[in-house]
Symmetry: C2
DNA sequence: AATGTACCAATCATCCTACAACTTTTCGGA
DNA sequence: TCCGAAAAGTTGTAGGATGATTGGTACATT
């Protein structure tokens, strides 16, 4: 019925101001914030108050401070750090499973919504895959493969989905590669997602789902093998 | 290649200690932390240092402080708050889309992994749905329906998936209900997921996917209608 | 030219004390 | 017993002091 009176603490006010300055692009990733002394004057708060605000954002992953050097903007979104912390506490295979679920959805949406630029990016990754396959460059191949999947998720045109997917992929990079190369009979040609790409290009949702499901089935099999070892 | 030297600041050390005390259950949700003076002595740090640590956890959503009263544990996971913040910045329909993707995956996994307790919980929710349908209690029905979906996701036995799903569902409760009741010809009986429940009970992955896909299609249609208004 | 040393200035890290603001408890009086 | 004032307890904010780390400069050494 009654809304609580807005008694935002000074620290919270400073926090949201800094957050806003970062989101709005006034401070970009990599930029150095003014030193504490100046910020104190700008926000008109004491050093303690300012430091508590900055510390909150450092823990959230938006800022990074180095003694003697200064404070820089590290990210524009706190989701990555939080997700990463959760992933560390959680089972690796559970995380991979969720990631595959996002990928499955992305394939369908990408088939519906992809545009020219999306197709170009995907094609570029596929060609990188093929080049790496020709030179038997396994790690190069896997990197290009991950890029392809990212491009596909981007083509789904859902920023929330993309956000989650990328934040779940980057910390898992090495684990994903480990799963992929666990296959004793690793076959480059079979792993190139040419069919999937063409299904998305032709906007065939049905085929896109089919190919992704095949890929997921393969991936799951490899995960299972590792788990049993 | 090279690991960065690990020089954890005092504040960070206190933060992780408190985090650990919460995770380990030493302090449960709702508990009040000892006053700052005591914590200062316990951790052997100054008030400023301690306060910066606490402030970081307050911003992350694990703690809540009230001037004059004390500090209480609010949550054991910071993911919820971070996800919520991201959702506020993001498009509602994008979030709903991701939520449906998780649900689709959950249905398949639930069909494979559900146990007796899972089935009991799902059945309970379904019966609550039916009771609400009989009395034409629309809001009661929708609440029970959401409970059913949550139970299904729980039955997938993937804590990461469940975590994400619940944290994406709770803040969307009202939006989800709004979408559901937007249907002019809302039909209780059609919305009761009896078929889906039995498919999961019979461990028929194929049927489970089918029913969930039907449900998702319906839901999407309603969302589309709202968007076009 | 590359490396090592000494020094300086800027900046963050930590600690301390003091007081304000708010909440909870205590206690005396009606 | 009930009520309200006082007291005690707790977090919020301010300001000052000192220590530690970093980055840069100048200069000598190899």
């Amino acid at each position: 019925m009654f809304k609580k009176a807005n008694r935002m603490s000074l620290v919270e006010q400073v926090v949201s101001q800094i957050e806003h300055l970062i989101e709005s692009g006034h401070w970009s990733v990599g930029d150095r914030l003014p030193p504490e002394m100046e910020l104190m004057k700008e926000f008109d708060v004491s050093r303690n108050t300012l430091r508590e605000a900055i510390r909150a954002l450092v823990h959230a992953g938006l800022l990074e401070t180095k003694q003697g050097s200064g404070t820089i903007v590290k990210s524009t979104s706190a989701l990555g750090v939080a997700l990463h912390r959760q992933m560390e506490k959680s089972n690796l295979y559970e995380t991979l499973e969720v990631r595959l679920a996002l990928e499955r959805e992305a394939a369908q949406l990408a088939a519906l919504r992809r545009n020219k630029e999306d197709l170009q990016e995907m094609q570029k990754s596929i060609e990188a895959c093929k080049r790496a396959a020709n030179t038997k460059d396994l790690y190069g191949f896997l990197s290009a493969d991950i890029e392809f999947h990212k491009a596909m998720v981007k083509a789904a045109h859902n920023s929330m989905l993309q956000n989650l997917y990328e934040h779940m992929t980057d910390p898992l990079r090495s684990s994903i590669k480990r799963v992929m190369i666990s296959d004793k009979h690793f076959d480059y040609t079979r792993e190139i997602h040419d069919d999937l790409f063409h299904a998305i290009k032709q906007q065939s949702v049905k085929d896109a789902i089919g190919y992704v499901n095949d890929y997921i089935k393969e991936f799951r099999k490899k995960v299972k093998q590792i788990q049993e070892e």
